[in-house]
């Protein structure tokens, strides 16, 4: 499968970003790497999408940012989840799972259902 072609559904990127920060603060580059690795190289987040998404989440108050030093001693902006971000993540995961289950169920249909009888 061509990874670059896999488009993100609206809102999906946000939940992935939030998820990637569950174990602690990460900078933007690490977030891309996390998503890429965890999706078995299926989801490549483009920089042009990632950073605006990060900033948006930060301005909404779901993420908090702080400057720090990266593994190789460069200054980098680290993002972490705020309390509200954690709450939002829980909610988003639930929504996403319900959505995915519903889509999967529809797609798994094998035959036309009997029409319901009018009472």
């Amino acid at each position: 499968m061509d990874t670059a072609k896999l488009e993100f559904l609206r809102g999906t990127l946000d939940v992935l970003i939030l998820k990637s920060l569950v174990w602690g603060p990460l900078h933007g580059y690490a977030i891309t790497n996390f998503i890429l690795r965890q999706s078995d190289d299926a989801l490549l987040v483009e920089e042009g999408t990632l950073y605006p998404a990060l900033w948006r989440l930060e301005s909404k108050g779901l993420l908090a940012a702080e400057w720090g030093l990266s593994e190789n001693n460069r200054k980098a902006k680290f993002y972490r989840l705020t309390l509200e971000g954690r709450r939002s993540l829980r909610q988003e995961i639930k929504t996403w799972q319900a959505y995915a289950a519903a889509v999967a169920k529809v797609l798994a249909t094998t035959q036309l259902p009997e029409p319901e009888e009018a009472r």
Partner: protein
Amino acid sequence: MTTTPFWRRYARFFGPDPAADVKDELSFHLDAKTDELIRQGLSPGAARKEAERQFGDLRSVQRIGQQIGQKTERRRRMGDYWTDLLHDLRYTFRTLRRDPGFAAISLLILALAIGANVAVFSVVNTILLRPLPFPHSNELVWIAPPPSECGWSCATYSADAYEEFSSMSRAYQGVTGYEAFTTPENFRLTGHGEPVPVTGMEVIGNFFQVLGVQPQMGRLFTLEEARGPVIPNSTGTPVVLLANAYWRRQFHSDPAIIGQAIELNGAPVTVVGALPESFDYGAVFAPGAKADLFVPVSLDTERMWGNIVTLVGRMKPGVTVAQALDDAKRVAPDMYFNTKYPQSKGRYKGNLVPVPLKDYVTGKLRRSLIALWFAVGTILLIAGVNLSNLLLARAAARAKEFAMRGALGASRGRIIRQLLMESLVLSCAGAVLGLGLALAVIRWLAHQGSLALPLLNSLGIDGQVVGWTVLVAILTAMIFGLLPGLRMASGNLQEMLKDSGAGAGLGRKHERIRATLVISEIALACVLLVSAGLLLRSFSKVLEVDLGFQPDHASSINVAYDESAPTVEARVLKRTAIFQEVLTRVGAIPGVQAAGISDYLPLGPNRSWDTPVPKGKVFAPGELPEPLVYVITPGFIRAMGMGLQGRDFTWADGPNSEKVIIINASMARRFWPGEDPVNKILMRDGGNAQYRVIGVVDDVHEESVESSIGAQVYYPCTQQGPSRAQLVVRSSLPPATLAPAVLRALRELNPYQPASEFRPIRTIVDHAVSPRRFFMLLVATFAGLGLLLATLGIYGVISYSVTRQTSEIGVRMALGATGGRVQRQVLANTLKLTAAGIAIGTLIAIVVARAIASLLFATSPWDFPSYMGMALALLVIALVSGYIPARRASAVNPMEALRNN
């Protein structure tokens, strides 16, 4: 992630920079990517290129980042700001609650000062700033000759002149006017029980159309109605428009009355409409007077009467007053006084001067109102200075609190903001109270019908007034909050934190500032006191003016009579008989000393006829003035208490005996300088009519108390027709006691005599001087307020300095100073402050007094007693307010004072 390295703390030393943050963040990303690509085996150069390629459009991402960053930053800052503000506000309320005495006094001061300012502003706004209450009121002009001494007759125009001017002028959309000689209670409403006196204005048919007044109900007059039949005793046609107030009062705003007939002077008249509440004739054209109803004046009947109508024009859009004047100059030479007399052509040359109606209505008050505005502004300044002083005293007590906050990291700006917040809260609360106060004053003023100020009916609190209040409140907060704020914030923290406090340098510096404030307060109060003194002196001079008659113990009432008869001679006889009977009956009432009748009374509207010429003398045309005319009965001169040389008219001066006349002193001087005018002959009508001068009376103030006096003549009612009858009764009995008896006597003679007001002559004088009294009272009130505030200021500063010096006083007393000596020194300090204030204040007052010289009457701006009174008043209050702290100082117990330190 490791902890933030120390240098990061300074990376944004000059405040947050979202743009740089975005750049840093993205460049880190590129670097990290490049590193990884190098690890995968690319050359550094190629790795960099590949990283940039993968990133895509770096610029646009950066732009998005900057926008989001700025927005976040702004929001954060706003959030901080509001949090701080709320915090300051809570803190303010807490501190004010802790010191209720301070809060109460400052609120009182602020409420008085702001209330006075708001009230005066609303008067100024109503009279000066707002346009007149007519649509496109800037198009309206008042057309009148230049001022003269012959009263309304020289300020009005004949019916012919009106029509000619109206048709020949090109500058106007419409010209209109009203009958200037209409007098109060000229009608009586009958058919509703007891006859009720009514004041009806006779207006030219298009009066309301030109002013742009729409009826609230019914319709306005039609052109035909201005030319219809005549109702008795008036020159109008039997249609009438009701003023809103009268419609409400007399007919309870009954809509059914429109279209119905009411009975005026015994004849039915149809009510065609009711005018809106917004139209108040008296408020615009005759301050302090009222008009109950309006009838169209019939120009055809008035044509023979000479000058009778005033002119009001509505200029065409875009026409300026200067253009209207040019137009009038063009028209005037072709205008006739009376088209029947060709020689009357051009008589109005130079006598048609349009001025904006607004200037005519309010122009005379402009200076007084501006002076009032300044006075009230001064009050605000004094109040501000006073509060500044109070706050400084408080700040001194709170110095340690602020030093502590400063030491704990509060910025200077933050502390100033905190103090400004306190003053803002105080002044806003003061403004709310003041607005309430102003509302009460304005309500009261708007109902002062007898106050001869125009437009008072539309006085009220509107958006502009509220806006002004807010402005004043903020300004005041700035005045009194900024200085203490700056003082506190600039203080030396350490010095303040040290416990020594009293006697330290800061205290002294503080005291200097406070002394300066008190001196300026005294100086401002000084200016107010001198102005009030000068106005007070002017007012008392006005009251002392010899009016030419004795207003006390005399009252007047409008007498209704019916002189209708087929011939002129019969009318004279009938009228004479009626007047004689009236005077006999009224004169017989116990307590009545004198009674007489005149058609016009002093200090009101008046008229003139023509210029009589002294027989045997030659004057250039136009050299002699046109005297005002009064038609009177025998006894009137005595009833009014006028001085008379020669003899009064008698009933024997009948229609067939020699024509006689009485003139006033000014006229005597002008017509027969250095001669005795008695028994001289005056000629009218080219010598066809000759009048023997039988007496000379004192000059009577006819226009206003303050204006100069022209020529006046008196004709006997037995030889000349009066336009109406004003009975004047002189008696030491109070008017209220006398009124029923007089009215009963009049009713016995004429059952249609309405229950007219029995008005003390004094009220006519009061009405004439009411604007001056109004301004004088206001300025005097402000001066009193200023004096009170200055007292508070002096007391505050002296009392504080005594408290601060308690230990010093203690030492001095321990070393042998007596209580009396300490007391004297405190008083001396007080007087020093006051003297400095008076000295500076006097200098300013001299400048101010010269500026208001035109408002003074017979009082010099250098008037010594005013300055003296001011200085005395200030010295007395200084002594009083210094005495209390002085007493306290002398009662200091040396042992205790020393121990406390």
